[in-house]
Assembly symmetry: C2
Homo-oligomer: 222 residues x 2
DNA sequence: CGCGGCTTTGATGTTCATCAAGTAAAGTGG
DNA sequence: CCACTTTACTTGATGAACATCAAAGCCGCG
């Protein structure tokens, strides 16, 4: 296994950008919007590294209804290190934008760690960050009323995903509901309400946040 | 060699030199019920290993109200590996039963990891498990109505903490409310209701689950 | 072209938080 | 050790927030 891989990881710490150097073990795959990367219950055979894109991590609730645990972009994707504690995926992963991945054989990946404690250390740090991020998000959402949750999720897409106050929603209304624990009808109602109050400009999936300050207040108040 | 954690948990993964090294820098502490182990915002100076007891991991919500993220017993406590991604505690930790800890200097602990990839691997696995556990719990609770949440938390204490259908609640009604996102009044109301319906026998903080099957149904139905 | 899933709006009812008010228990200081 | 203060617990009444149900238009896709 090429040492280029470790170099990339180790020196860049947060980025696997030079991962292309790894040829024999790695396999690159492209998933279109809506395509499933893995299914809850599937056996884990590969370590997956996301190079580009956006996915949803989701799972069936006890009542059968689908629910979304988290949205992940490349840098957030370390969290799925279930590979170290389980042999099956606990969650399903589905692309919500075109996404590119590198897949590595799990065994080889684990061996890599055993040969390089610095690399392991970096992994531990990233995992810890990602897990804390998810826990904090669920914590925050749990404490909000519905208007606050919608405000939160709009700000999340604007600030953390697209770095822009105008963006195309990558989720359907139904999926937003699954993500922030509410009903589709209320997602629609509150988005319309925000639109009417000129907090956002809404056109199908196109959203522009026009009153950032007010949205922030609603987020904090809820 | 001390009876502290590595014997039980890490024995195979550490060399004698490393163990002795850690042993010299370890400090053992006892906390009584209600005593604070660490405060949100404090600088992290030590890696903490819980030998015995029960703690709550908690944090102030945006609205100022206190909320409990998780209850942890010794084996669950690895999750607090914020030490690898941050220099300050993100959460407060308070003993809810008398608890005993070993504290290690963080730097020495990290150096140990760098010298021992097996140890690192074990840590990664444990972290991943613990984080997944917390995420799953929040996920489950989020999908339940109030009766379902109370059922869930009663079953949690009976099955995962005390391994017995009779136990003393380690939390006040208010703290239960903080843990499962509801109001103190409703915690009381639903506990009383379960008592009247002979699902539990309630006397202050003493609880006995008398109708396990029905409680399970309420948990799943919610 | 028609079916199924997504979106939207309105009407209705349930669940739950809030408010109020009182009792019990547990600290606290003289 | 007792008076005092605070905190925990409890019950009922009220209203707000939210889910559910129903119906209809829309769009994409086979």
């Amino acid at each position: 296994m090429s040492d280029c891989f470790y170099k990339a990881v180790f020196f860049n710490k947060l980025s696997f950008d030079e991962i292309n150097c790894l040829d024999h073990i790695r396999e690159e795959k492209l998933f279109k919007k809506g395509e499933i990367i893995s299914n809850e219950g599937d056996e884990i055979k590969q370590f997956i590294y996301m190079k580009k894109g956006l996915v949803k991590i989701h799972k069936h609730g006890l009542d059968g209804r689908e629910r979304i645990i988290s949205i992940a972009k490349p840098i957030d994707f370390f969290g799925l290190l279930t590979i170290f504690s389980d042999t099956q995926y606990k969650y399903s992963i589905t692309a919500i934008e075109e996404s590119r991945f590198c897949m590595f054989d799990v065994k080889a990946f684990k061996e890599t760690i055993l040969l390089n404690a610095n690399f392991a250390m970096m992994l531990i740090g990233r995992m810890s960050q990602v897990a804390d991020g998810i826990i904090k998000t669920r914590f925050d959402i749990g404490g909000k009323n519905l208007r606050g949750r919608i405000a939160y999720i709009l700000m999340y897409f604007a600030n953390d995903v697209y770095m822009n106050n105008s963006f195309e929603l990558p989720l359907s209304r139904k999926e937003i509901a699954e993500l922030i624990d509410m009903t589709t009808e209320n997602v629609i109602r509150i988005l319309s309400e925000f639109n009417k109050d000129n907090i956002i400009r809404l056109d199908g999936k196109s959203i522009e946040i026009t009153n950032v300050e007010l949205l922030r207040k609603i987020n904090l108040a809820g």
